[in-house]
Point group: C2
Chain length 213, copies 2
């Protein structure tokens, strides 16, 4: 059955990005340390168009997260291109080149309308100005019996949790303390959770949860 889910890597003090995000440090100060477990994996490197890498207990977790996805929802900040109206000289087309690793429709939340943007490989970016509920609805519709994945960032995750859209999520708990930054689980309201399973892996612990209704 189709579910709405997300996976996010957080520090043990709950941040998915450090403070002072910038073009040079898009994950904020110290934020790169969160992903050391991930960027060495063959499964991640392959999806990113890179060679090499290793296989360990995290590989299956990443593979499962990438499987059966029918659509993504992401925030404008994650899609990139700055704030405010889209430029047109040329307009921003995302961080991922001509063939983004999504390969299904991606619904980008924005305050600024824009035509849908088909890319190579099956990815099409759709720009949704009617808010997160509408973006989830549209994503569900095209995903049909596959899952909708909330790609991020923190603000979209928080909005979806608060609105009750999330069925399941996975925390990748990295052995890092960031001290400040973006907390995806802050101010999400009153949620009842059930732990589904936990997996120990090198430099990370994966724990998945179900949101109870």
């Amino acid at each position: 059955m189709s579910v709405v889910r997300f996976m996010v890597t957080v520090s043990i003090d709950g941040y998915m990005a450090g403070p002072d995000q910038s073009l040079e440090e898009p994950l904020g100060v110290g934020g790169e340390d969160l992903h050391r477990w991930l960027t060495e994996l063959e499964v991640w490197r392959r999806a990113a168009g890179l060679g090499g890498g290793i296989t360990n207990a995290s590989s299956r977790v990443v593979e499962e997260a990438q499987a059966d996805v029918g659509a993504y929802v992401m925030g404008r900040n994650m899609f990139g291109g700055g704030r405010g109206p889209w430029g047109d000289d040329p307009p921003w087309r995302g961080w991922w080149g001509d063939d983004p690793p999504y390969r299904v429709p991606v619904f980008v939340l924005t305050h600024h309308p824009r035509e849908s943007l088909p890319m190579e490989g099956g990815t099409t970016f759709h720009f949704v100005t009617a808010g997160v509920d509408r973006a989830i609805d549209q994503a569900r519709e095209v995903a049909r019996d596959r899952d909708v994945v909330i790609a991020g960032g923190a603000d979209v995750i928080r909005q979806c949790l608060r609105a009750g859209h999330v069925d399941r999520f996975e925390l990748n708990l990295a052995p890092v303390i960031l001290g400040a930054g973006e907390r995806p689980l802050a101010d999400v309201g009153d949620l009842r959770l059930e732990q589904i399973r936990a997996i120990e892996a090198p430099r990370v612990t994966h724990v998945s949860y179900r949101v109870l209704r």
Copy 2:
């Protein structure tokens, strides 16, 4: 070799107690939910003088946390008896009755001097007014080759992390979101960590970390 360590159960948003702590709800609103995995364990119930209980993957984690402890350090708030000078009609003797479950010296941080308080079963409460560094020193001295455990609360854990006193710690990650309360890992400065191991158990995930120097 003797180490300084602590174990703490936190919500997935990082709180070890909920908001609005009171005599009726000493763990704050929702805070009891953090410990559902623990209070059903035979090993915990036995230490608390209660019967019954079950054994599961958490049992060994709790047993290891209780083993080889030579001394404890705790904050005044955890010892209890309100704030300000100690009354004397009669003076507060802790939450745990005549035979507290510690059975070794316990160093209580306070601003208000008081004579040491020997209890039954080997526990003696010592009251330290010279700050956390001195309390850790005294605890190390009496613990000799056994470990010093920081019993809590959040403020003492934060002080010890910030001062570099902690060698190892264990997070028990409960499937709970509290939204507000006491965060033991907030404002602890710049720490480098190594994940030691993770254990999946019913309604909790145990993850232990080493602080790198």
